[in-house]
């Protein structure tokens, strides 16, 4: 009995030491500030306690699908052309259904050729349905669509992560947001003023050049009328910034060919620079070799025509092709500042976002708010704990000391768990700790009440303690399991702060099971072993 007790005591002390290490690590001193620093290093604080910004972003994945079908339209047109199928019109008839492509106008003698091209090269991703009179309808397969959408989400996360890294944010979180479809969760600790970061996240930074087919017109209405009332399927109408075509021009509208000459991923590098003549800030970009070749060919064959440089769907510059341009270019004018040139180069280097990003939710916690919350949480915990401890001492006397020791150990082990697992402590999490104190001491009450009952029935103290623990244990398991299951549901369905609550509640109850059943028992046994047989215990 004595040896058993020793082993058990050692086990308990081991838990205590290990937990304290989990909470503090190895502090460099024992002063208040040294301990506080060590604590904050180990325990991971949530945004609501640390201060920072929490964002939910929506990736407009339909745009990615639309881009994919756009480039397929271009490729198909080129294929048909190369194989001598003239007069074919490839278009996307319905803007609300970007996954549908229509082919029409194929003459009867080319039908076979067209059909074989379609089936051999496009049937992998599309369901091809022939229609009457040389028409076909191609609908992208659902698997292909979801693949595009998923990779748009993944690529967006990568691009956003790279951009945020360049701002030096410490330990940001960027991950898919489980509660919605194709949404991204971003958490930026310590940032309470989004400013430039917001632009960096949202800017698609898609830089392209397009052939200019018509314009400039003063507004969209006039432009629309000039192209015959409706936008042709292979073109788009875009607005330019003031000063795009010449110094002092206003914002105008142009008709541009939809498929760009080069764009997006064709950019290899971008750096902020200065105009050699005017010393004004500009962005110098370099294309990839392949894009450079394509561009070189295009400019060689189209000298004298107009081309437009488009950034994020606004025309930035319209210029006449004067000679062969290969892979160097720049973006200038339009009031670029040094800062803007730096930011834009960074955005172009990290790559364009495959689809645009909409902000769905933004929660900001200022640092003073975080400090206040921690302070209030700690005060509430201490007040609650003292109240409970005092009551146990008054009501259960000697056994109350037992319960209070177990309670204290409970708290230490709970915090130790938090330190070791790196789980995040949020404000509701602190509330969970407080709730654990209250619910935890219930287990002790159960046991002690049963012990009192057994003592009343005339049993000896040792037997009463034994029976007390034995009978109470099933109820303790019951209550703990049901509350932990509740917490599990909250964890699955909840967002950040609620998850923090579920975590501390669960850890607290697990720790409590250990302390109220094992530790309390050991303390009782130790006490009983010092008493004579039958000598009453204080309860």
């Amino acid at each position: 009995m004595q040896k058993n007790l020793k082993t058990k005591t050692i086990v308990i002390l081991a838990f205590l030491v290990v937990s304290i290490y989990g909470i503090f690590g190895l502090p460099h001193g024992v002063s208040g500030t040294a301990l506080k620093d060590a604590l904050l290093q180990r325990i991971n604080l949530g945004l609501d306690l640390k201060g920072g910004t929490h964002l939910v972003l929506q990736v407009m994945v339909d745009e990615a699908v639309s881009s994919a079908t756009d480039s397929d339209v271009g490729a198909l047109q080129a294929d048909l052309q190369q194989n001598g199928v003239t007069g074919a019109v490839v278009s996307k008839p319905d803007p609300n259904r970007p996954e549908v492509i229509q082919i029409s106008g194929v003459s009867t003698d080319h039908t076979a050729d067209a059909s074989s091209i379609l089936n051999s090269r496009y049937s992998g991703n599309y369901d091809i349905t022939p229609g009457v009179n040389g028409t076909w309808t191609m609908t992208m397969k659902p698997t292909a669509i979801s693949q595009i959408k998923q990779s748009a989400l993944d690529k967006s996360i990568d691009v956003i992560r790279t951009r945020i890294d360049s701002f030096g944010v410490k330990e940001p979180t960027i991950e898919p947001y489980q509660l919605g479809s194709y949404q991204i969760l971003v958490e930026l600790p310590g940032i309470d003023d989004l400013g430039r970061i917001k632009d960096a996240i949202q800017s698609t930074a898609r830089l392209e050049t397009h052939e200019v087919m018509g314009g400039p017109w003063p507004d969209r209405q006039t432009a629309l009328q000039a192209v015959g009332g409706a936008v042709p399927p292979d073109a788009e109408l875009l607005e330019s910034i003031p000063g795009a075509s010449s110094e002092g021009s206003t914002a105008e509208w142009y008709e541009l060919k939809k498929i760009p000459i080069w764009g997006g991923t064709d950019i290899r590098d971008a750096q902020p620079g200065h105009n050699p003549n005017t010393n004004e800030p500009e962005v110098d970009f370099t294309l990839t070799a392949a894009a450079g070749d394509k561009f070189g060919d295009y400019t060689r064959n189209n000298i004298g025509k107009n081309m437009a440089i488009v950034l994020d769907n606004r025309v930035r510059e319209v210029a006449v092709i004067k000679g062969v341009i290969r892979d160097q270019g720049n973006i200038a004018g339009g009031g670029i500042t040094e800062q803007y040139a730096k930011d834009l180069s960074m955005l172009l280097r990290t790559g364009a976002l495959p689809a645009s990003i909409h902000f769905l939710q933004e929660t900001t916690v200022g640092p003073s708010l975080g400090s206040d919350s921690i302070h209030q949480g700690v005060v509430a915990s201490i007040a609650g704990m003292l109240a409970v401890m005092a009551f146990m001492l008054i009501y259960y006397r000697g056994a109350g000391v037992n319960a209070d020791l177990a309670l204290f150990l409970n708290l230490v082990i709970l915090l130790g768990f938090m330190g070791y697992t790196g789980a995040t402590l949020t404000l509701p999490g602190i509330a969970g700790v407080i709730l654990t104190i209250g619910m935890g001491v219930d287990s002790n009450v159960l046991i002690f009440e049963r012990i009192r009952e057994e003592l009343r029935a005339g049993k000896s103290p040792a037997a009463a303690v034994d029976q007390g623990f034995a009978h109470a244990i099933t109820t303790i398991i019951d209550t703990h399991v049901t509350t932990i299951v509740s917490a599990a549901i909250l964890f699955i369905f909840g967002t950040g702060p609620v998850k923090g609550f579920a975590v501390t509640l669960t850890f607290g109850l697990i720790a409590n099971f250990f302390t109220s059943v094992f530790v309390s028992r050991v303390i009782f046994d130790a006490l009983l072993s010092r008493k004579l047989h039958g000598e009453p215990i204080s309860i």
Binding site: D48, L179, G180, I191, D192, D193, G195, H358, F359, L360, Q361, E362, T363, T364, V365, G366, P367, S368, L369, S371, D372, Q376, G377, A380, G384, M385, A387, V388, F391, Y395, L427, P428, A431, I434, L435, I437, G438, M439, V441, D442, V445, L446, R452, T475, D478, T479, T482, T483, V485, S486, A487, I489, L490, I492, F493, G494, T495, V498, F501, L505
Partner: protein, 402 residues
């Protein structure tokens, strides 16, 4: 010390009082839900913008509203946040004014208009740095640009030094003074003399501090509502199944009805006080549902144990006896949990106010319902079965007994 020695209260005899009490509160809650305050939802469920601002002096609500109107925010609601001594205000913009295209437009407008139209220091501070609202990175950049210690604007030494200085200022502002600096002069001694002079010349204090904001588009609000409803349904279903498993169906039904009653009264209380329900409040309610069920199980356990031991005792007196036997444990455990939850309500601050309110009401009502609703329901069921001439015994175990 012992509070509940040999209690012999006739609980079932008082069941009409209990029923009356429950009816009054449920009806009050329902009336408020349907006809008065409705279901007050917090911004994370209903969408919109909420900006929290702390003022150096008591905030003048009318002037704030004036400032908001000047900025074109017609549909704003300005409420005091927390105790009056906090001098904090919540500025709420409806969902209409929160467009997903420019989600934080409302927030930016509010900060700007307060600066221009409310701040006591006026337009002579155009272009100066507002110490009360500057972020760490902005302060460091400002110091680097001004470079009062002539360390070279872009050098690493400059950056480290100015970061240190900025941290000192922000520690004073945020950790010690809840975000507000009374005057730039108070920073004397916290920073190097050169930096202090630069701040005196180029910075001011606007008298308000932007504490935080929550901006929720319509889509996220709806998503969260769906999550909350799913979580609640799963919890209740899980409970019903668990109780059915452990006891008989009637026990499960009685316990679930008691939990329903608890939830209804709690939500009714929120509606009566016009306290907003957020996701953390739903978490509190679900936790209490679990807690209330535990309580009910304790009573049911004892009823079942007594049924096995004494077959002839009339059900009324058996249930009374069971409740009396478990009273000590029930009141003590609830009381202790209530103590901790009360401490949370009193000391825990405004952010957790809804959460702690739900727990305070919930624990009281949860304990009450195990005794006053669940137990009488068992007896009522058994009486109803007896009236219809069926077997008189309440099912105590899985095996049928006649």
């Amino acid at each position: 010390m012992e509070l509940f020695h040999d209690v012999k209260i006739d609980w079932l005899g008082k069941k009409w009082y209990f029923l009356g009490f429950s009816l009054i509160f449920s009806t009050a809650g329902l009336i408020s839900l349907f006809f008065w305050h409705g279901l007050p939802l917090d911004v994370d469920f209903r969408g919109g913008t909420v900006v929290r601002v702390k003022f150096a002096e008591k905030p003048n609500i009318d002037r704030i509203r004036d400032a908001a109107d000047k900025a074109g925010l017609r549909d704003s609601r300005i409420t005091q946040y927390g105790p009056a001594s906090n001098d904090e205000v919540l500025i709420t913009l409806s969902l209409k004014e929160t467009s997903e295209a420019a989600l934080d437009q409302g927030r930016a407008t509010i900060v700007q208009t307060l600066d221009q139209n409310y701040s006591t220091t006026g337009p002579q501070n155009q272009g100066k740095l507002d110490i009360d609202n500057v972020s760490r990175s902005a302060l460091v950049s400002w110091l680097q640009q001004k470079d009062p210690e002539h360390l070279g604007a872009d050098s690493d030494a400059a950056q480290t030094r100015y970061q240190q200085q900025a941290d000192a200022v922000l520690h004073y502002r945020d950790d010690l003074h809840s975000g507000l600096v009374a005057s730039v002069d108070n920073l004397h001694g916290l920073v190097d003399p050169a930096v202090f002079t630069a701040l005196q010349q180029g910075a001011y204090v606007s008298g308000f501090h932007f504490q935080g904001a929550e901006i929720v588009g319509a889509q996220v609000g709806k998503q969260l509502q769906k999550q909350a409803i799913l979580a609640t349904l799963y919890s209740l279903a899980g409970m019903l199944v668990y109780l059915w498993f452990r006891f008989e169906l009637i026990y499960g039904v009685a316990a679930v009805i008691a939990c329903f009653h608890d939830t209804l009264i709690t939500i009714g209380a929120f509606s009566l006080r016009n306290q907003e329900i957020s996701l953390t409040v739903i978490a509190a309610i679900l936790t209490l549902v679990g807690y209330s069920m535990n309580d009910t199980i304790v009573v049911f356990d004892r009823i079942r144990e007594n049924l096995r031991l004494s077959r002839r005792e009339p059900l009324d007196s058996l249930v009374n006896r069971s409740i009396n036997q478990t009273l000590s444990r029930t009141v003590l455990t609830s009381g202790l949990t209530f103590l901790t939850v009360l401490s949370l309500y009193v000391f825990g601050g405004e952010v957790l106010r809804g959460f702690s309110f739900a727990l305070v009401i919930g624990i009281l009502i949860g304990t009450y319902s195990s005794i006053a609703i669940a137990a009488p329901m068992l007896v009522a069921y058994q009486d109803w079965r007896a009236q219809r001439g069926k077997a008189a015994a309440l099912p105590a175990a899985k095996k049928a007994r006649v």
